[in-house]
Symmetry: none
Subunit: 423 residues, 2 copies
C-alpha cells in the first residue's frame, strides 16, 4: 500500500516552524509496519493545494493531509478537498452540535466563524477529534482515500492513533512489524564503516534487514531496519546480524539504541560508586557540560576545572604552576593524578590540548593529550586531530568521554581512530 | 520566480530525523526575499526520485535538492539527476583531485568508494563544498535549474549561502535590494515583543519594512526585512525603524546582526584588558563552554570551576567548605569575590542554582543566584525560573552571560524578565 503525506500551511513552508508533525506521523506509521513513500508541503494557496491533492490521488492508495482545518480564512483544506473530489461543501449538523457542546462545556459561546469548521465535502466520513474543534474527515480523491487531520500536534496525534491507523491497517490487510536497531560509535568514519560491514545484509533472509548510516561528527550512527511478521520473527532475523556488527565494530561501539555516551559513562561510574573530577583546556568546560547536568550526576561529578593556560591548570588542581611545562602525555598524567588527589574523586579525566596558532582553516590542528587517573593507576593517550577549530574541539570532547568509557569498561584507551593524523 | 525544494533520504522520509534542513533553507531564502512554493520529500528510491525531479522540473524555475551526495550505495542523487537530465554520469577530475587533496591534508588515503562522489551528470556546473567531500552541482531538468546540495547541515549552509543564493538572486533578476537587520534579545517573550513593537512597520513608507520574529529560547531574534532600490535607500528607510526598536527594547538588546552574546562579552572584556573567572553549578560548565573556546578567549578566560555541591564550590575557590550554607545572593557574592581573588582575574561570575527535587516536569523550577565581582565591588541578582530541567539550565546560562554583558556595559544587572516567576 502506497501512503503519502501532504503538509499544508505557510508557517511550515516558510520554515518558521520545523515540521515535527510530519516526522511524528511517519515514525508512528513505521511502528505499525506502514511506510510513507512521499511527502509534499504546500502553503495556504488554492492552486497548489488542488494540484498536490490531485497528484497524490493519482499515485497513492492512502493520503494523510495535515493542517488547514481551522476557522480562519487561510484554512482551505475542506474547500479544496471538495473541489478535488468533485463534490459540494455541506454543513455537517453532527459536527456543528459537537462544537456547540464543546464551547458550552467551557462556558463560552461559539464564535460565528467556527461554523466554517463544520463544512465538509458531501459524503465525507467524519474522523472524531475529542480534544479540539477541527473536524477530521475522509474522502476519496482519485484512487486514494484521503484522511484530513488538524495541525495542532495533540489533536493530530489523537486522531492518527484513534481513527486513521486502524483504517490504514484494515485497508492494507497485512500485519507486518518493523524494528529499528541502532549502534553508536566514535572513531570510525562513514565510508570506513560501510566497508567494515560489507555483506552484512546478506546474513538475514530475503532482504529483511536493511543497513543505513547517519554521520553526525564525531559520532556515527549505524542502523538496521528489520521487517518481519511480528517481533519474535524480527528478533530471530536480527540476532545474527547484530552480533556481527558488534564483532566487526568491536570496542568502537559506545552505546546502542537510545543510550548515549554520556549516559553510559554516568551509569558505569554509578555502578562503581565512583566519583569524577574533570580538567579541561580548549574544550572550555564542554566535556563537563555534556554530563554534569544529567539526573544522578549531582552525586558523581565532583568537580570540573577549566583553564586555557597550562600554569592556570596546574594551580587549579593544587600543583605548583612554576612546574607547568609543555602539554604532553606526562603533564596530562600529572594533572589527572593531582585532580584525583585534590578533589578526593575516585576517577579524574584530564584533557589537555595544544592548538595551532592563527586563523581557523581546514588544516588547523590540535594535539590532544589526555589522562585518566585513579588512586592506583593512570592511563593516557596522545592524538593529533586536524580539520579546523570546531572539528578539533568537538573531536577532543568525544575522545575524552569515549576514552573514559573505554577505561571504565576495561577496554584499551588507545585504538587508532579515523579522525587522527598519524605523524 | 517559482522555487521548489526536494529533500531526499530514508532518514527524513521515515521521520527518524526531523527535517531542519528544509526549514533552514526556506528561512534563509525568505531572508533574501525569495520564497519556496513547494517542498517534496522522497526516500532513497530510484523511481520516486526520478518522478520528483521530473514533476518539479515541469513546475518550477529553480529547484534545490538536498541529500543523496554521499559515498554509499543509498546515495542516488547524481545518478538520477543524470537520468532526469538525459545525460551520462562522468567523472569530474576536478572534484576527484579536490577530494584526494582533502584526504591528504588529513593524512588519510581516500577510500575507493569516495570516487562515486566525483561522478556528475555530463555538463553539470560544480558548486564548491569547502568543508566536505560531497560535490554540489547544478544542471537543467525540464524548465528548471536544479541545485544539488549535501545533507550534512554545515556543508549545506556553506553551499547555499556561498554558491546558490547568489545564483538565485541573479536568476530572479530583481532590481530591488534586500537587507535583513537583526536584533538579539534575552528576557522578552515573542508575544511581549510583538506588543512592544506595535505600529513599527508604519514608520517606513509603503510597506518596505517587514517585521518578523524567531524565538529560540532563551533568545529572541527580531528581524526587519527592508526592500529598496539600493543599499543607500535601504539605509534611509531603515534608520528610523531600527532606532525605534533600540528605544523600545532598551537594555534587552544584547547584540545585533551577526554578533553573539558570548562574542559581545569577550569583546567588552578585551576592551577593558580584563580577565574572567567563572563558577558554575547546575549549568555544569556550559557557561564556560560558550566562551572559553572562542578566538581571543585564551587571554581572557582565566579559569572556570564547576561543582554540583555547594561545599565543593567553596573548596574550589579557596573558601572553607564548612562555611558553605544555603544558596543565596549572599553566598553567590562570597563565591564570586573568592573566585576573583583566588585566580587574580579582574572579573568573576558565579552562577549558583538550587534545583527542585524529583523527576523532570513542566513545573520543575530552579532558583538562580548569580554574582559578578571585581576587586572593588560586587553585583548580584536572584531569579526563579520554571519550566523543566532543560528550561532552567538554558535560562540560567543565558542569564549569567547576559548579566555579565549588562555589568560590563554599565547597565543594571537586574531588570525583570518574562521567563522568571515572581514570588
Amino acid at each position: 500500500m502506497r501512503i503519502e503525506v501532504i503538509c499544508t500551511g505557510d508557517e511550515v513552508l516558510t520554515g518558521k516552524i520545523v515540521n515535527t508533525n510530519f516526522s511524528w506521523i511517519s515514525q508512528k506509521l513505521e511502528d505499525f509496519g506502514l511506510s510513507v513513500t512521499w511527502e509534499t508541503t504546500v502553503g495556504d494557496d488554492r492552486d497548489d493545494l488542488l494540484l498536490a491533492f490531485q497528484l497524490a490521488g493519482q499515485r497513492a492508495d492512502a493520503v494523510i493531509v495535515n493542517g488547514g482545518l481551522g476557522p480562519t480564512v487561510d484554512d482551505l483544506s475542506q474547500e479544496i478537498a471538495a473541489k478535488a473530489a468533485g463534490v459540494d461543501l455541506v454543513l455537517s449538523s453532527e459536527w456543528l452540535e459537537k462544537m456547540e457542546a464543546y464551547f458550552a462545556r467551557r462556558s463560552r459561546v461559539m464564535p460565528p466563524n467556527n461554523v466554517k469548521q463544520a463544512m465538509l465535502p458531501a459524503g465525507a466520513e467524519v474522523l472524531d477529534n475529542p480534544v479540539g474543534t477541527a473536524c477530521g474527515f475522509a474522502v476519496q480523491i482519485g484512487k486514494a482515500r484521503f484522511f484530513f487531520t488538524p495541525g495542532v500536534p495533540r489533536e493530530l496525534r489523537r486522531m492518527l492513533e484513534g481513527e486513521i491507523i486502524p483504517r490504514l491497517l484494515a485497508k492494507s490487510g497485512k500485519q507486518t512489524a518493523i524494528h529499528l536497531k541502532r549502534f553508536h560509535s566514535y572513531g570510525i568514519g562513514e565510508s570506513h564503516a560501510d566497508t567494515l560491514l560489507a555483506g552484512l545484509e546478506a546474513l538475514a533472509p530475503d532482504g529483511s534487514v536493511k543497513l543505513g548510516f547517519r554521520a553526525h561528527y564525531p559520532q556515527l550512527e549505524t542502523k538496521l531496519t528489520v521487517r518481519g511478521s511480528d517481533m519474535d520473527e524480527i528478533r530471530v532475523k536480527l540476532a545474527p546480524v547484530e552480533q556481527e556488527v558488534r564483532k566487526r565494530f568491536g570496542n568502537f561501539i559506545l552505546a546502542e539504541d537510545d543510550r548515549t555516551l554520556e549516559g553510559v559513562v554516568i551509569d558505569e561510574l554509578a555502578n562503581l560508586d565512583a566519583t569524577l573530577s574533570l580538567v579541561e583546556t580548549f574544550t572550555g568546560g564542554q566535556i563537563a557540560g555534556r554530563i554534569a547536568h544529567l539526573p544522578g550526576a549531582e552525586k558523581i561529578v565532583r568537580r570540573g576545572v577549566m583553564a586555557r593556560d597550562i600554569a592556570q591548570v596546574y594551580s587549579a588542581v593544587g600543583l605548583d604552576p612554576r612546574e607547568a611545562g609543555e602539554i604532553s602525555r606526562e603533564s596530562a598524567e600529572t594533572v589527572a593524578r593531582a585532580a584525583q588527589r585534590n578533589t578526593g574523586a575516585t576517577h579524574a579525566l584530564a584533557v589537555l590540548i595544544e592548538v595551532d596558532e592563527g586563523a581557523d582553516r581546514l588544516e588547523f590542528a590540535g594535539t590532544v593529550c589526555l589522562a585518566i587517573a585513579t588512586a592506583h593507576e593512570v592511563a593516557s593517550r596522545r592524538s593529533r586531530i586536524v580539520g579546523g577549530r570546531d572539528w578539533v574541539r568537538l573531536g577532543a570532547i568525544e575522545m575524552g568521554l569515549d576514552c573514559l568509557r573505554r577505561y571504565l569498561q576495561g577496554l584499551p584507551v588507545y585504538e587508532r581512530i579515523d579522525f587522527e593524523k598519524v605523524e
